[in-house]
């Protein structure tokens, strides 16, 4: 299991390819990249992994997988 945790995987976050340690949760990745605040609050945000919406309650629970395509969206002004 230790070797698996040290494995580097390739994911795409906000259109950029990243090489990240396997085993991290979506919350950990998004926090490390400065996309969400460390307190975990996710108001006005929505996350999709591989074009499927992942509810905020699952962000700390779901680990990233090799090849994941991660997109974080937020509410903004609009007509």
């Amino acid at each position: 299991m230790k070797t698996e945790q040290q494995t580097t995987i390739t994911v795409t976050v906000q259109g950029k390819v990243r090489y990240l340690a396997a085993g991290q949760s979506l919350s950990e990745v998004l926090t490390a990249l400065g996309l969400i605040s460390p307190d975990g609050k996710a108001t006005g945000l929505a996350l999709a992994v591989n074009q499927e919406v992942v509810p905020a309650s699952d962000w700390p629970l779901r680990s990233i997988s090799d090849g994941d395509y991660i997109q974080l969206f937020q509410a903004i002004a609009g007509g």
Partner: protein, 260 residues
Amino acid sequence: MQDTDDPLHLGNERWQSRLLTGTGKFGHPDTMLAALEAAGTELVTLALRRVETDGQNDNLFGPLQQTGYRLLPNTSGARTAEEAVFAAQLAREAMGTSWLKLEIHPDPRYLMPDPVETLKAAEQLVQQGFTVLPYVHADPVLCKRLEEVGCAAVMPLGAPIGSNLGLETRTFLRIIIEQAQVPVIVDAGIGRPSDAMAAMEMGADAVLVNTAIATARDPVVMARAFRDAVSAGRAAYLAGLAAASPQAAASSPLTEFLGV
């Protein structure tokens, strides 16, 4: 509040205001909040975009939610039904509402809504439990089709988005209003309070205004002007407009006291 005895029935709910307001193009968030209050609006539109990694992310969602406005996310940016359905699901997650302004406009120059993709997306989204308010061209046939698939309202345009040209589609808006069994919300192109009033006099159930308020020299005062115009137009519609005639019809008795 306005029209307290004449609520708008939309999406199985009752609304006191018939002026929906967009949140785009305001110079400052505080100005936007003040304008929304002056407009007396209850339902405000928001958009969705990918979070930028440069940290320049505005946060309007919090203040709007705290102020108690009901949010109406749009699917702006979607070019196909598939993209709109994805955007809708994201919006529901981000904003905690299944209400949706469905808009699909692949052409960036005129932002004309795509009728085929809009109908396709509306059908799917209604089945997924969304309260769908589709933005469409002023096409009476399309509006009936959208009603038939279960949309909560139709939102025909008066003129291209942000153009401030007014009710260029007036003839077709009349047909849509006459035929609709769901609320008709005139959206896009309304440039002046008199445009909003004209739409309401015609029998529109509500209007959605953004650019005309947000880009006015004084957005707060303009918002109030729109509120008053919508209220006056609605009252005029309910009162029943007097018939127009190409000939004069004397308002005073034409007696013979002048000896003629």
